[in-house]
Structure formats: C-alpha cells, structure tokens
Amino acid sequence: MSKIVLQRVSPHSTVQDAGRDDGLKYGVSASGPMDRPAFYQTVQLLGEGAPTALEFTMLGLAFSFHGEPAMMAAAGGEFMCTINGIQQSWPLKAQLEDGDQVDIKTGPSGMYGYVRFDRDIDAPTILGSKATNLAAQIGGLDGKPLSIGDVIPLVDGDKITTDINYGEVPLIEPDADIVLRVLPGLHADLLGKGSWQSLFQSPFEISASTDRMGVRLNDPDNRFSDIEKLGLVSDAVVPGDIQILGEGTPVILMRDHQPTGGYPRIATLIDKDLDRAAQLRPNTRIRFQSISLEKAQQLL
C-alpha cells in the first residue's frame, strides 16, 4: 500500500473522476474535471491509470509520497514541478519512491492541473462516482476540498485507458483575445435580438470570482445592466450556460453548477470550449463568437 500526505493545497482543489452522470435525478450536477483534455492527458501519459485524479487549482499542490513505488502523471495548464527539488518537465510522468517530495507551483498559465497515479484514490463511490461536488458537498473526501494534512491512501482498483491524443492541446492562443464559441441559450429569444448581438460587440474579462460553480465575467460596457425582469420559471441548467444575474453580471456556469435555475440564460458555450474557458485566469480578455449546432458537434 502507498499513500500521499498533502503539505500545501491551492483553494478549491478536489478529487475528481469522469463525473456523476446520474446525479441530476437527486438534484446534483455531474461535476467531473474542469479541464477534461488535461484530466485524460494524465491517463495517456501513464498508458493506463486510475479513474480518479486530484484536481488542483492555480497555486498548485505539494505532497510527500510514502510506500511501495507508484507511477504518477501530471498535466493541465503550465505549472512548475519539482520532485525532491529537481525541476521536471510539464506535463510529466515519473516513478515515485518512498519519501519522495512532489512540489507543484503556479506557472505561466492555467487554473487547473491534475495528478494521477497508477493506483486509485481511496474514496467512497457516492451515487456512482467519486467526484467531489463542492456545491452539494458530496463525493471525494467527505464532500470537502483537499486540505493540508490530508492523508490519501492509494489502493489497487480499476484502471482506465484513453485512445485520444491530447498532446496537441494548444496552450497559447494566436489571437490577442481568447475566442469562446456559443450557441443561443434557453432565453436568447426572450431576451431579444439586441441582447444577443450585444454579446459579440466587445470583449469581456474573466473576473477574480471564478470557481467550479461558475466563472463571473467583468463587462466594461455594462451591456446587461438594464436587462428585463422576466419572471422565469426555474428550468434546467447545463454546463456552459451563460446566465445574467439580477444586476447584469454574466456568469459562465461550470461543472458544479446548480441543476436548475431561474436567472435568464442568454447563451451556452459549446462543449469543446468549456475546458479552455475553465483554464483562463482572471483579467483575461475574451470574445464570444456565434457558431452553428452542426459545427459545434463536428468539433466534439
């Protein structure tokens, strides 16, 4: 048996697997990794790996490893990693020995990174998944984010593989602004053509308020400040929905979104761009671009 002991933890870091597809019927959204390509890149690096990984946020993760040797892979964004003080490449694959010290620190870009082992994280399966849902406070380690001093046993268990090559994930966009593609949201018609078109007129900015539930945007133009009160009946939410809060703040809803909501949703990010959106740091400028459903699905 082996285990890791957490020594430094970035806020909102969690245990994640592919997600809880069945949770909706109990009022729980699926959760799962914020950056799926990076999450699966760690599987690709290992060849086969545990279905469950640690997701850490911008400030990284440090831990000590104890017990029988294990393989580890890490990926996502551009973080800096040392093992026993020796600089590693990123993403990376390494064999860990008893007593090894892994230190992942913030790098030039990225909000989420993943550490996966060839042995599984010992956490209970709740409603079919080990994924932590911070909003619902279930899954992972008692529904809580990772914290300093946590001892996480690594145990024999299922292994997963992937046949998708994630090596080509672009980290830096050629454009000055990041372009995120959207489809009309549930209430786009109700909000009117003017609101829809105003989405594209100028850039937004990622705000400092961004987590697994949602990414709030700053809007220098304040374009939704006088949006109509629609008195909507609460309805289904999907990841990527862009909802407009009462005072006009747009929020991109992410993996731990509430399953239903009553705020108007003007647009929905295409699935392909959701992971890129998750990795954007505060103050990044973004532009939205309209795309057809057919094209969005061809990108999957």
Partner: protein, 234 residues
C-alpha cells in the same frame, strides 16, 4: 406572449430547444400550470422507457424535460425526430390527474425561530396564521420537480398564491428541512442553501440521505399532504 395563451392549441406551445450541444429541452409551457407539469413528468418517463438507447439521461423540470445525449452516438436530428414522434403519440389534450396516489404526510412546524417569514407571509396574504395554515394544509400537493440543490423539492400548486413574490433580500444558510414559500409553491430544503424564498417553517423530511438507497424519498409526480405540528396537540 401569444404562445402561452390558454386558447393556443397545446401542441403549438411545445418547443424542442437545443440546450448547448449535448441536450435538448422539451418545453411544455412557460407559465406554471399543473397539467403542463404533469405532462413534463410523464413525458420524461416515456423518454426514459422508449428512447434509452439514444440518450444519456432524461430529467423533468417544472415545465420541461431535459434530454441529454452524446452527439457522437446520436445525431441531433435523429433525436429530435424521435422526440417528435413520441410527442405525436402523447395526449396533450387530456387533463392529467395527480400521478401519485398515496400522499406522504409531512408535519410542519409553522413560524417561530425556524419560520422567520411566516408572519410576514400570512399578513401579506391578509390571513390569520391559523387561516393560512388551514389553507396550506388543505390540499394534496404534487411534487412538481426536484432540483436546484440536492433533494430540493418544489410542491404545488397553491393556485391562489401564484403571484406571491420572492423576498428582496436573500437569506443565507437556510438549514435543511426548511419549508419555503413563493410563487404558488412550497419547497423543502435538504442541504443548507441561500434563498430568496420566504422561510415559513420546518419539517423533519430529509430528502437527500446518502444512507438510504435511493437517497431521495420524494420524486416528481409523488404526492404530499402537509399537517401542522400544532394540530397534534389539539
């Protein structure tokens, strides 16, 4: 909105709307009506039974059915066509009776420390506390939907109180078991939440108990009858 007027043929009111690139929402109405809610619940059951090979999951909301799918396995146009065919065989004219038959009795302690908005609510409705409780416990209610937070159920309808507004101020950390009231509905929380609904009382239902399988006791379509905790002592 002409599409929500009662005289519009029901079929014309139904919308199939893509929600992102991995879901279709079948919307039965835009205004809360019991019949549209029951349609959404029963259509969802039909989708689960008949379209299982095409979908990832189907879940009902207050007035809609969310159908999630994997576009790599099922194309949007095929799924839309399947849904349209299913809708064609789904009777939209008939008034649907309550789905559940065996009401779950829920005892509510109205007002007091755990129902801080109770007095404001019955005063706003120009009712004494006792009269409000009498009306609130009078009818067998539908479980309209489950969502928003784990185990959170929407119950209704209180037809006379459909226009009762949400509070201007949000309440933080409203505890599990709280009985909420707004817009002709009563809701029950199972985890702490932040809400703009009025908190009128407390009950002992825990509709999200991971020690149970399934963790929920109330699902959309079930029926509920409230009774006042005070009545026990009479």
């Amino acid at each position: 909105m002409s599409e929500s007027e009662p005289h519009t043929p029901p079929r014309a009111r139904i919308k199939l709307q893509p929600l992102g690139d991995k879901a279709i929402l079948v919307v039965f109405d835009t205004q809360l009506r019991l019949n549209a809610n029951r349609q959404a619940i029963q259509f969802t059951q039909l989708v689960q039974e008949k379209l299982a090979p095409y979908i990832v999951g189907a879940n009902s909301n207050l007035l809609s059915c969310l159908v999630r799918y994997n576009p790599k396995r099922t194309s949007f146009s095929v799924l839309r066509q399947e849904l349209q065919m299913l809708l064609a065989s789904f009777d939209l004219e008939k008034e649907r009776p309550q789905i559940g038959t065996d009401p779950k009795l829920i005892t509510v302690s109205y007002g007091g420390e755990n129902g801080p908005d109770f007095d404001a609510v019955h005063r706003d409705l120009k009712l004494t506390g006792q009269d409000f409780i009498a009306q609130h416990t009078a009818n067998v209610l539908d479980v309209l939907a489950l969502g928003f937070s784990p185990g959170f159920v929407y119950l209704g309808l209180h037809e006379n109180w459909q226009h009762y507004p949400r509070r201007a101020q949000m309440r933080e950390n409203v505890p599990p078991g709280s009985v909420l009231f707004a817009a002709g509905q009563t809701a029950i929380t199972s985890v702490p939440i932040r809400t703009g609904w009025s908190v009128i009382g407390h009950c002992h239902l825990n509709n999200f108990d991971l020690q149970r399988d399934p963790p929920v006791q109330l699902c959309p379509g079930d029926v509920v009858q409230f009774q006042s905790a005070e009545a026990d002592n009479v």
